[in-house]
Each structure stands twice: as structure tokens, then as C-alpha cells.
Symmetry: C2
Subunit: 361 residues, 2 copies
């Protein structure tokens, strides 16, 4: 009888669109019940070693693979955590994804990542889609979504959401973010300490919290040192190399006076450097240049680009830890903001207001 059942099983390969072996197939072949197969599969309950082996054998022979969907449905958990990023573009998110993937896997969970296409609507959709897939927790990296929208999202999905790169006041313990403003402040203060007072700035998208914070850091540093705000020195960029180039050219053709340029990300710094070169200006002799992000290329440019390093790796790891704890209904502590650190290379030299020319870099 058992044998007969076995003979009916699909031994042929099913790569032609036929169906895969199911738990029932395995149970029949092993001469046990589905329940037993389930037990050996999950290591739950007691199973005699001999039958356990039979089951394994049957699974092997049939090339059985548990159906993930069915399993998740029954378990009410997909054992995976979802991540939505603003965009896939740029080294920054590559770094982030790399770490995120490693970290989740080290917890035995799967990472599902989705692209938010850098618009609030798509980001929201992306989160919803991950929620529909029953992720155990979701991590959201958004640049444009409003705090209100984020909170609404938190309330509308049944699993925990942790927000990265944003400080949402109403859910501070769900947030993992950088002290962007402080880092920008440090940059500009450093530039000032090197004897620069005419410092131009090219921002990243100014409608994002990041864009605002970095500019605010710039503004505050100037203020602290009694340097008046000069609107002509500030150009509003979009993060792209091209725009960095264009805006630096504007600065130049405007005849804006500046001895140092703070580009709020490395990509724009690179674009700007091209414009400077073309104008016959040398870095740092004629113009000092400071970036932000510490792109992989920053170190290898000529001259090496001074910039600020953001511990994005640590940050995403932390975010994932939080997410997993939340998924496990564990207690979490709120994470203090991460801080950037200045990476000094060769793109800055002493400026015209240097109090002592002996203090060369």
C-alpha cells in the first residue's frame, strides 16, 4: 500500500512548469503523516530517530522544498525584514544595502529591499507592499516624507517600523539618524579656523531635512564667528555632479568672492572641482574645497578631497538590530544620534584670513 502510493509520486523533473513536491508527497513516501514531516522539518516535538531519517530520505529523493508562502501564512510571520530606500542610486545606498543584507542574514532573517523612487508616494507604497508581505519589521529610509505621513504609516501597519536618517519627534525611539547639522557646522568652523571667511556653499536638496540641516550648520558656524550671511554665496543644488559643476560655474561667473567652497556632498564637490579646473583655478591653492559623505573616490581624487564621514554602516546595523528587537517584542532603548567625523585630506589650505601663516595644515 505504501509502495503503491510512492509509485504515484512525481519523480520526473518539474522544471517544465509542473508542480513541486509537497509535504503530502513526502509524508506518503516516508509512510508517515504530514504532521510528522512537519515536526522533523521544524525540529518541534519528539520524533523517533529512525522515522526522522526516513523522512529526510524522502525529502531528499523528492527534492522537497518547503513552500515558503504556505509556511508564512500558517506561522503568521515571514521571517524577513523589509527595507525601503530612497533610491538605489549612488555609492551611499550600495554601502547601506551591503551592510543591511549581511546583518539581517546574520540573524537568520531575509532582507527584502524596495525602491522608494525618492518620492513620498512611492515610499509609502513601498512600505505598504512590504507590510502586505508580512515582514516582521520594516525599515524606512526616506528623504521627502513628512513626519506626519510617517506617523500615519506607523499607525496603519501592523508591524514595527523603524525610521532611518530622520528624527521623528513623536517616535524618537524608532529613529536612527545622524547629527547632520553638527557635522556641517564642524566643517565650516574648520574652514574658518583655517583662515577662510568667504565660504561658498552648494546645498543638497533643500526641501529635505538633510538639506536643511547641513545648510543650517553652515549658517550657524558663520554666525558664531561673526561672518554675515551672504545669499550670493549659497547655491541650491540637487546632489548631482552635474549640478555641482553648474552651480560652481555660476558662482564663478557671478564673480562671487570665495576662498573656500563647501559642497554638501562629494558628488557635487567633484562637479565643482571640474568647474574650478576649467576656470584655471587650483585646489587648494586658489580655492579650498570641502565635501560631505566620504565617497569611495574622495581619497583617490587629486588632490584628495576633505570631507565628512558618516557612519552609515553602523547606522543601518543599529537600525536592523532595533527592528529585530521590535519584531521579537523585546524592549528597545532609544539610540543617540550618530555623529560624522571630518576626514582631512588635501583639498583645503590656509585662507587669506589666517591669523598665523605658520599654522599650515
Amino acid at each position: 500500500m505504501r509502495r503503491i502510493a510512492c509509485d504515484k509520486l512525481p519523480i520526473i523533473s518539474w522544471n517544465q512548469g509542473s508542480t513541486m513536491a509537497t509535504m503530502l508527497d513526502v509524508s506518503l513516501r516516508a509512510g508517515v503523516s504530514k504532521a510528522t514531516v512537519s515536526r522533523v522539518l521544524n525540529g518541534t516535538g519528539q520524533v523517533k530517530e529512525s522515522t526522522r531519517q526516513q523522512v529526510f530520505k524522502a525529502m531528499e529523493e523528492l527534492g522537497y522544498r518547503p513552500n515558503f508562502l504556505a509556511r508564512s501564512l500558517a506561522n503568521r510571520t515571514s521571517n524577513s525584514i523589509g527595507l525601503v530606500v530612497s533610491t538605489f542610486d549612488g555609492f551611499y545606498f550600495g554601502r547601506l544595502l551591503q551592510q543591511a543584507s549581511r546583518q539581517t542574514e546574520s540573524h537568520g532573517k531575509q532582507l527584502i529591499v524596495t525602491d522608494g523612487h525618492d518620492t513620498p508616494e512611492r515610499e509609502e507604497q513601498a512600505v505598504q507592499m512590504l507590510a502586505d508581505r508580512q515582514c516582521d519589521a520594516i525599515i524606512l529610509y526616506t528623504r521627502y516624507m513628512s513626519e506626519k505621513a510617517i506617523m500615519a504609516l506607523v499607525d496603519s501597519i501592523p508591524m514595527p517600523l523603524v525610521v532611518i536618517n530622520r528624527d521623528v519627534a513623536q517616535a524618537r525611539d524608532r529613529c536612527v539618524f545622524f547629527e547632520q547639522q553638527d557635522a556641517a557646522f564642524q566643517v565650516v568652523e574648520y574652514l574658518i579656523s583655517q583662515g577662510h571667511r568667504d565660504i561658498a556653499c552648494i546645498t543638497v536638496p533643500i526641501h529635505t531635512p538633510t538639506g536643511k540641516a547641513r545648510l543650517e550648520g553652515y549658517r550657524n558656524a558663520l554666525k558664531k564667528h561673526g561672518i554675515p550671511w551672504d545669499a550670493a554665496k549659497v547655491k541650491y543644488g540637487d546632489s548631482s555632479m552635474t549640478r555641482g559643476y553648474e552651480l560652481c560655474r555660476e558662482l564663478l561667473t557671478d564673480k562671487t568672492r570665495f576662498s573656500a567652497l563647501f559642497a554638501c556632498n562629494d558628488d557635487m564637490a567633484l562637479g565643482a572641482s571640474k568647474a574650478l579646473h576649467q576656470a584655471g583655478l587650483h585646489i587648494p591653492q586658489d580655492i579650498s574645497l570641502f565635501g560631505f559623505d566620504d565617497a569611495p573616490s574622495a581619497k583617490w581624487l587629486e588632490p584628495g578631497l576633505s570631507t565628512v564621514y558618516l557612519p552609515i554602516d553602523n547606522m543601518i546595523v543599529t537600525a536592523i538590530e532595533q527592528a529585530i528587537k521590535l519584531a521579537n517584542h523585546q524592549q528597545i532603548e532609544t539610540i543617540p544620534p550618530f555623529t560624522g567625523t571630518l576626514v582631512l585630506r588635501d583639498s583645503v589650505t590656509v585662507g587669506p584670513y589666517s591669523s598665523s601663516s605658520a599654522i599650515n595644515s
Copy 2:
């Protein structure tokens, strides 16, 4: 009776870990059967407009969202396509993912991407994981997996697999790839045409088909033009900027003679350029430099880096088209190889063997 049932429904928010509204809840609230709810949800079958509205209303009021897992299980399709990439690192995969995401979404399908961590084992695991999730089709970008392993994978999963960046002879119609060797050949031939004969080369990982192909292109071009192979001129790299730097230094300290350097990717070209600078050598006056990949930064470097553009965007789009067709059991045609195109900027000048110095770039 209906009302009574409604009153028992969970109107409270369920963000505290409670369960979400189900189809049954909706059906009770709307005073219809699950089947009807299913019908309005999927637009299948005929439903009276008035009841349809009731159902919508009930869904609205309950904040109902269909359970994706249950749906997929019943449908035997998850309406999503899986993509495994070698790694998340680098601009290249960012570009790829960006396009991939857009393209799948334009077909109303979801993209699930996974990291293969650049090792054959993990790549295989990644594919399996996507298979377990019942993706309708899977796209694999692998650098290290053997053709045999790829074929084994194809046979072991029940959904179609399309391979990107590789030419697997036994499944040619499932492959979408570049003519890497030809592109490299063109580069070197171009360099030769510019009067270079002492051409050094820094390879990408030589155990990958890509690495082999690019080197082979280099070799063939030399051969065609009667230039003897010189092992001292070839350094085996790993794609990283750091290694590009180190190997270029080796070339220099070895006193290897070369007037042009072909770095098999832009990252290494950048590293190499640093080494050149440090040695007091100018690009292109002293050494001509050619890269590969057309990184976003190539255009903005000083001097602009000549390189080869690979239509990765088109390629991934094509791969996804193929995957979707296969998922729909449509006929597919085999895709001819994509070709790279030389992007000439300012990092190459005429070499010492230039037949006519009038033929400047």
C-alpha cells in the same frame, strides 16, 4: 444578525500587534459572502454595483488589506520577479537596480532583490530563497558561478531563470550579456592607433568570465598588431581603487615601460591615476589612461577619463522583459550580445609610435 456580527469586528487600531481585518470580516460587515468580496477585489465575475459599493465601504471602514501571502498561495503566483546581484556595492549595481525596479513595476510586478555576496554558494542560496518565495521568474547576475552550477540551478527550480552578464552555451536564449572581449579589444586597438605600443593592463578579477574576456581582448589586439605579449605589463587586480593604486605603483617601481595604461575598470583607473600623480607623471602627457564602465565620475575627473560605456540599463531592461515573457509562457527570442562603446575624453593622447603627429585627438 448581520449587525451583531459587525459589532464584533475589531474597529480598534491593530498597531499593537493584534491581527488585521480579514476577508471574512469584510464579508460579514458587508453582509455578503467571502466569494463576493473576492470577486470585487479581483474584478472577476459579475457583481451588482450596489453590493460592490457596500463591499468597498466595508473594506474602507475596516482598513482592509488583502493578505498577500494567502493570495499568492491560492494563486500559485506571487506576481513578483526575483533578482540576485553579485553585490550591492558600486555604482554599477545601483544603476542596474534602479532600472530593474522601474521596469518590473511598469509591468505591475514587484521586484525582490537579493545579495549574492559575490560567492557562488551565496548566489545559489539567494536564487533558492527567491524560488521558495514563488517568484514568477528569477534573474541572476553572477560573476563566479560555473556554467555547470548555473545549469543545475535552472533544472532545480520550477520557475524560469534568466542569466545576465554571462553566456551560458547550454541555455543561450536565457542569457543577456555584453561583448566584453570586443570592447576591450577596441580600447587597445584605439590606443595602438594613437601611437601606443607599450600598453600596460590592470585586470579585473581574472577568475571571472569578465576578467578573462577583457584581458583576452587586450591580448588579441596586441597580437593583431604584432605587438609581443609582455607579462611584466599585466597586473592582476580585483576591481578596487586601492588595488588599482597599488598595482600601478608596482608597474612604476618595476620600471616597466609603458606609455599607456588600460585599467579594466574605472575604479582601478582612478586608483592608478593617483599613483601616477604621486610619481610626478601627468595624464595624458606622460601616460595615457583608459578605463572601463563609464562610472558617473569619469566625466568629471581631471582630465576626463576615456572609458567604455556598457549599456547596463538596456541590458537589465531586456533581461526583465525576457523574464516576464517566460513567466507568462510566451515565446522568447534569443537576445544578441550587447556591445560597449568607447567614450573618448581627455585621458589619452598620441603616443611615441604615432605615425603622424598631425593625427592628434
